[in-house]
């Protein structure tokens, strides 16, 4: 085997021009594929490793209204409904059947700091309840989160993240200071580390990917509503809901406007919880006597993300394009190798005549192909890094995630090796089938 490796190495050096050609070709194919795969890998990564496997989105359809149908036009699919009414959320919170649970909604709103010359800003913040921070594992730099009792009391408290603290107050030492939201004054009780899971899975309606956009502060839901800030959107309102102030606001008690996420340790607990949700829904139906309700749903993070199709279409399309480009490069290199191997027919014939088995010939040539592709892999590494760098330059919301992590670094060489074996297989097989007698004679 070592001998075969050595022969393969010599083979490489014998036709340097065509070797360089093959290496460059393979490198281009590998780099294109790895660039797109690395981005795809980042976009499909687990948003919260270790936690997302037991986080579920709970949904009960209690909105008493005809399903709105104007969404189904122009070829858009319907049934993206996933939010529930605050009224139901409070009932579920009160029952407290899951380990952790919290209703939530990302809200884009204006805010300002304290002082005579307050600094203003407008960005996303998350309206939720006390269990959100422990459930999603938001880490606190200082201070504390709020308690269920403070939720109950509609306490005007807020947890802001360190970057927002710096941009609004110039320091992260902001505990106890005032934070103005709507017409309310909130007291800062905690400073968190910036929390930006990719994608923003718990409220995709607001935004999906991006390091720049994130929920910059966490506010108790009821206190935020008390301060007159409206939740962003809804999935339908009761027919008898009070008339909204303006067209774009809705009353969360009557409109499905919060996502309700729960933490359930295992599948058995999850099916118990689903049964509980369905019972809750059945009781509601008895109460209001409205028709056409859909069954309760409990969707885990991974299922939720694939259902919502969060990965941009053109990222997938590019991966396919790059894949077919790699295939083309492989066909090209295989053609080159076939020509080069068969040119050596005479030598192969002599080796065979001297007693080398077909297997040895095959091995030698597959090694040669694998070497070319591994060299291509080395060359592809800087090319891939360059490709990812150009991707990061395009600011299209998600491309700032284009980086090569160790797993993909390993995958690059695994792919290079696999490509080498596959590419070399056919030409090497053909070379190993050469008839020794005929070749020796003609040489």
């Amino acid at each position: 085997m070592r001998y075969n490796l050595m022969l393969a190495w010599h083979g490489l050096k014998r036709f340097p021009r065509s070797t360089v050609l093959a290496v460059v070709t393979v490198a281009m194919g590998l780099a294109a594929t790895m660039t797109t795969l690395a981005l795809l890998h980042q976009l499909t990564a687990d948003p919260l490793p270790g936690r997302s496997s037991h986080l579920y989105l709970a949904w009960v359809d209690t909105v008493r209204a005809k399903p709105t149908q104007n969404q189904s036009l122009n070829g858009i699919t319907v049934d993206q409904r996933h939010r529930i009414k605050l009224r139901d959320a409070e009932e579920l919170l009160h029952d407290h059947r899951a380990t952790w649970q919290a209703p939530m909604a990302s809200v884009f709103t204006q805010f300002k700091s304290d002082g005579d010359k307050p600094r203003k800003g407008s960005d996303y913040l998350l309206a939720t309840t006390s269990e959100f921070l422990p459930m999603l594992g938001v880490s606190l730099r200082s201070g504390r989160s709020w308690t269920p009792a403070e939720d109950q009391a509609h306490a005007p408290v807020v947890v802001i993240d360190s970057e927002m603290a710096v941009s609004l107050y110039g320091t992260t030492d902001v505990l106890g200071r005032e934070f103005h939201l709507g017409h309310g004054v909130f007291r800062i009780i905690g400073v968190s580390a910036p929390f930006a899971p990719q994608p923003h899975f718990y409220d995709l309606a607001s935004f999906t990917f991006g390091n720049l956009r994130r929920d910059q502060a966490f506010v108790p839901l009821r206190s935020l509503l008390d301060a007159g800030v409206d939740l962003a959107g809804d999935d339908g309102c009761d027919v008898d809901s009070p008339k909204p102030k303006t067209l774009f606001t809705s009353d969360p008690m009557y409109c499905a406007s919060v996502s309700y996420w729960v933490d359930l340790p295992d599948r058995a607990k999850a099916s118990d919880f689903l049964a509980y949700l369905q019972r809750y829904l059945d009781n509601q139906q008895a109460l209001v006597g409205a028709g056409h309700a859909r069954p309760a749903q409990l969707t885990r993070v991974d299922a939720w993300l694939s259902q919502q199709n969060v990965v941009p279409d053109n990222v997938r399309l590019n991966a396919w394009l790059a894949g077919s480009f790699l295939l083309l490069c492989m066909a090209n290199v295989a053609g080159l190798l076939a020509a080069r191997f068969l040119r050596r027919s005479a030598e192969i014939g002599i080796r065979r005549a001297l007693g080398a088995p077909q297997r040895a010939i095959f091995q030698q040539h597959v090694f040669e192909a694998a070497m070319i592709c591994l060299l291509g892999g080395f060359l592809a590494l800087p090319l891939t890094l360059f490709g990812l760098w150009t991707l990061r330059l395009q600011d299209s919301g998600f491309t700032d995630l284009a980086t090569l992590d160790p797993a993909m670094f390993g995958a690059l060489f695994a792919l290079a090796f696999a490509v080498g074996i596959i590419t070399g297989w056919l030409p090497a097989w053909r070379a190993s089938r050469i008839e020794p007698g005929l070749q020796v004679k003609s040489a």
């Binding site: 065509s18 050609l21 093959a22 460059v24 070709t25 281009m28 194919g29 294109a32 149908q69 104007n70 969404q71 036009l73 122009n74 070829g75 858009i76 709103t109 204006q110 203003k120 800003g121 407008s122 709507g182 017409h183 800030v229 909204p244 303006t246 067209l247 279409d313 053109n314 997938r316 399309l317 590019n318 394009l321 790059a322 077919s324 480009f325 295939l327 083309l328 490069c329 066909a331 090209n332 295989a334 053609g335 080159l336 076939a338 020509a339 080069r340 068969l342 040119r343 395009q394 600011d395 299209s396 056919l426 030409p427 053909r430």
Partner: protein
């Protein structure tokens, strides 16, 4: 030119020939489909906005507790005072800016049939935007009414020609009516063009140029977005000063810097991703052609070297240089043709796949013809250098052993 000797020579190199043919086939499939995608994207890039883009800018103010009328009065006065501003109007949205007015409509108050974008504009908005009316009449003072929420209950509107065709194919749209919930609309004018703020985005491919332009008095449900017109050369400076002026006139409001831009900037921003896509596809095509050409050059050079002796013999027997040159050219033509034949099948298979997953229309046949011509030309071009080298092999080679 005789095919028989070429074919018998190729039969001796079945594997390499087959691989190159396969490569050509793959190149054909990717080339045709990528070109098709590029053309689709370019068409989207050149969408006509229907407004006087090059001389327009948008100012977008967010203010949760402002009184609409008061804010409008302060800001429009301030903006009009900016030197170089020709006119200012209050609108709800502008092409390539944030969409705010998608709503489903019905012709019979019962069945929804389409989701157009509703533009709303105060007095002078149509003139400021530079909308081109094809038929019907301009708005008069009594067309502008106040609205409690969204739009006035009864509004006389303009619709785009494309949308009128969708609603009333082959009929005169003037005087026709439609509803959205309890709001009633009557068509009094037809616009040549007016793209929704996000053409092709989010509301389905079929929703092309589906826009409605409604007049209304600025107030509580129409405030915060201002469009201003200035000469194209002045526009960047005017926008800079307008941003400052607007912020000074309404210190309690937050100026949205992302949205407060000139229309050319907003357009470039909106299509950034499309341009990246076109760039990527073009890059793939260039790389693909390059690799294919290199493959052909590599293989042809190899064969020329391998056949030096045979070429020498042919030359010694009286074959001209032209004969040798033509031999390699014909050989290449045969391989490429075989590749294209397989490629046709693969191209359509790939197109079907794309149609299934990515809302791509069917590939027109002339793309295949163009692809075939390009590949034939590429093949001939890449084989030229090795073939010339072959033609230069002197007859004396035949007399040497190996």
């Amino acid at each position: 030119m005789q095919f028989a000797p070429i074919l018998s020579a190729l039969r001796r190199h079945r594997l390499a020939t087959a691989l190159i043919a396969f490569e050509i086939a793959l190149a054909c499939a990717v080339l045709c489909n990528a070109c098709f995608l590029i053309v689709q994207q370019l068409r989207a890039l050149h969408v006509e906005s229907g407004v006087a883009e090059s001389s327009l800018a948008v100012i977008n103010l967010g203010c949760d507790d402002c009184k609409g009328a008061d804010l409008n009065a302060r800001v429009t006065t301030a903006l009009r005072a900016v030197p170089g501003v020709q006119s200012v109007a209050v609108v709800n949205a502008a092409p390539f800016a944030q969409p705010t007015g998608y709503a489903g409509i019905s012709l019979d108050r019962e069945h929804f049939i389409a989701v157009p974008h509703f533009y709303a504009g105060g007095p002078g908005a149509a003139e400021t935007l530079g909308l081109q009316l094809m038929a019907g009449r301009a708005f008069q003072a009594d067309d502008f009414q106040t609205a409690e929420s969204w739009l006035p209950q009864n509004t006389s509107v303009w619709v785009t020609r494309a949308f009128a065709q969708r609603l009333w194919p082959g009929q005169d749209p003037l005087g026709k009516e439609f509803w959205s919930d309890k709001y009633h609309f009557r068509v009094i004018g037809v616009l040549a063009h007016l793209t929704p703020p996000d053409p092709g985005g989010g509301h389905g491919d079929s929703a092309g140029e589906w826009s409605v332009f409604a007049p209304m008095l600025p107030g509580d449900s129409l405030h915060g977005v201002y469009v201003l017109r200035a000469s194209a050369i002045d526009l960047p400076r005017v926008l800079r000063e307008a941003r400052v002026a607007a912020q000074r006139a309404a210190p309690e409001a937050v100026l949205d810097l992302q949205q407060s831009r000139t229309l050319p900037e907003l357009r470039a921003d909106f299509f950034r991703q499309t341009r990246v896509m076109v760039g990527t596809l073009a890059g793939v095509i260039v790389a693909l052609l390059l690799v294919t050409a290199l493959g052909i050059v590599g293989l042809a050079s190899f064969w020329v070297q391998q056949r030096r002796k045979q070429i020498g013999i042919r030359r010694a027997m009286g074959a001209t240089r032209g004969d040798i040159l033509h031999y390699f050219q014909t050989e290449n033509f045969l391989i490429v043709s075989a590749g294209i034949a397989i490629g046709i099948v693969m191209t359509f298979a790939l197109n079907l796949l794309l149609m299934k997953f990515y809302e791509v229309p069917r590939l027109p046949v002339y793309y295949l013809l163009a692809g075939a011509v390009v590949l034939w030309a590429l093949g001939q071009l890449s084989v030229l250098a090795p073939a010339m080298r072959a033609a230069n092999v002197p007859p004396v080679v035949a007399t040497r052993s190996v």
